[in-house]
């Protein structure tokens, strides 16, 4: 794990990780600090049970975007600055090298998301929901699945695609993932060839919204659909096969 630890240290030492994370936190807090008069099931929209899932949507969206930004250049950078030479000659298998760099990507993406996630704890305290803080811990691990999917996908794509193409493709998959339920409704509404096409895309691409929703359910104490979480973990597993399929021809 030396490569992962060192790559991770390099990312963690970069101030932009924290700057972006804290900016995201401020944005999340600003967005959720207003007092609304609308009520859902008798609770004001600004109440904790309503606001927490909304914050999670924001954290998932910002965290995912950050995961793409943090993961896209790690592997190409290693080859451009030829750090790869001193790794290859030491007999490190490519899949291991890329997997360790991806672990660093996932870890740094989770740190940035974690900084924003701290906003939820602030919200829980402000809304006198201190008990809910404990539930936030397992919820973070669920949300982490969504962030990890985006990070691993970006990393794998960056092995064989130019950064721009990998970024567009990862961004597209991410957008479909967070809009999964909306696109599902659209597919059912329009029907026909287009509707079926959207449905096929939704089967292939991970339901990031669903995962984030389960994290929200954990926080609010609602029922959790474990199937969605397992599907998310399976997606990560499938994506890691990419390390064995996609290889660099030269260092």
């Amino acid at each position: 794990m030396m490569i992962a630890i060192t790559a991770m240290k390099e990312k963690v030492r970069r101030k932009d990780l924290y700057i972006v994370g804290i900016l995201g936190l401020v944005l999340v807090l600003l967005f959720c600090s207003g007092g609304g008069t609308i009520t859902i099931d008798g609770e004001p929209i600004s109440g904790y049970k309503n606001l927490a899932p909304i914050m999670l949507i924001l954290i998932n969206a910002l965290g995912g975007a950050l995961a793409i930004a943090l993961s896209l250049r790690t592997i190409p950078n290693e080859y451009e600055r030829r750090t790869s030479h001193l790794i290859w000659i030491r007999g490190v298998k490519q899949w291991r090298y890329h997997a360790e760099l991806t672990i660093a990507n996932v870890a740094s993406s989770l740190i940035a998301t974690g900084i924003m996630y701290a906003g939820l704890a602030v919200l829980a305290l402000v809304k006198n929901q201190g008990d809910g803080i404990l539930r936030m811990v397992p919820a973070f691990f669920v949300l982490a699945i969504s962030i990890a999917i985006v990070s691993v996908l970006s990393s794998v794509l960056s092995i064989f695609l130019p950064s721009m193409a990998a970024g567009i493709l990862a961004g597209g998959c991410f957008a479909v993932g967070v809009l999964h339920s909306i696109l599902g409704m659209v597919a059912n509404t329009i029907g026909g060839f287009s509707g079926n096409l959207i449905k096929i895309v939704l089967v292939i691409l991970p339901d990031l919204h669903g995962i984030q929703k389960q994290a929200g359910n954990l926080i609010t104490g609602s029922a959790v659909d474990a199937h969605v979480i397992w599907k998310g973990l399976l997606t990560i597993y499938i994506l890691t096969i990419g390390f064995f399929i996609f290889k660099k021809k030269e260092a």
């Binding site: 060192t6 240290k9 390099e10 030829r82 030479h85 001193l86 030491r90 490190v92 260092a251």
Partner: protein, 227 residues
């Protein structure tokens, strides 16, 4: 130690190595000589498996450990020199205690006794020394040095050459790529002169060179200013 036969490599339409053959014997210091763009670095990268060859054969003696010092080394900037050595040592399977001990020793060998300075504060010369130190991890039998004196000042070059001579005395086989002929003449036993990836001629310090220096031989083969 190493036999290369009919190596060929093309980038797009440009042939950078064209039917190159040579052999490096055990215990000798062998030079790859040529101007910039002659195909020296590509040849080294083919030997190390960093670049795929299109044709030819490379045979390195089995069960030997090869150390490589790159031309433009890049190390994690936030690590100290000693930490860099520990990092690469651990990657190549050395134990933590073994690598700690060896790293300190190698820092002394290459003249980088200040173990607390971070790599980002290193000069080009210090980076070259560190590159050599990481190549020496695990006590390699065969060392491949790509432009080890590039960017070094006069004193740095002299010290690097002394270090290479010391390694030679320890029995290491060394393949060096450089275009600084005076340095090569001092430390190398044999060498080949290449241009546009093709072998133009050979040089052997122990043969009768009819009073000609390596520079004279090089100019004869490559073609240069008439004396």
């Amino acid at each position: 130690m190493l036999v290369c036969k009919d190596l060929r490599k093309t980038y797009k339409d440009k042939t950078v190595v064209n039917g190159l053959s040579f052999a490096v014997k055990e215990g000798e210091v062998f030079a790859l000589l040529g101007s910039n763009g002659a195909g020296k670095s590509t040849t080294i990268k083919m030997i190390l498996g960093l670049v795929k060859r299109e044709e030819g054969e490379i045979n390195v003696r089995e069960n030997i450990h090869v150390g490589y010092s790159p031309e433009t080394p890049y190390f994690p900037p936030f690590l100290t020199g000693k930490e860099v050595l520990c990092y690469y040592g651990r990657i190549q399977g050395m134990s933590k205690s073994e690598v700690e001990e060896k790293a300190g020793e190698l820092m002394e060998v290459v003249g980088l006794e200040d173990t607390k300075t971070r790599v980002k504060e290193y000069s080009k010369g210090m980076l070259q020394r560190l590159a050599l130190a990481q190549a020496l991890l695990g006590d390699p039998d065969f060392l491949i040095l790509d432009e080890p004196t590039a960017g070094l000042d006069a004193m740095g070059r002299i010290e690097m050459m002394q270090l290479i001579q010391k390694l030679k005395r320890q029995g290491k086989t060394i393949l060096i790529n450089s275009h600084i002929l005076s340095d090569m003449e001092r430390v190398c036993d044999r060498g080949i002169i290449i241009k546009k990836g093709m072998l133009l001629g050979t040089w052997d310090k122990n043969e009768d060179n009819k009073g000609k220096s390596l520079e004279d031989i090089f100019v004869e083969y490559i073609g240069g200013v008439e004396k």
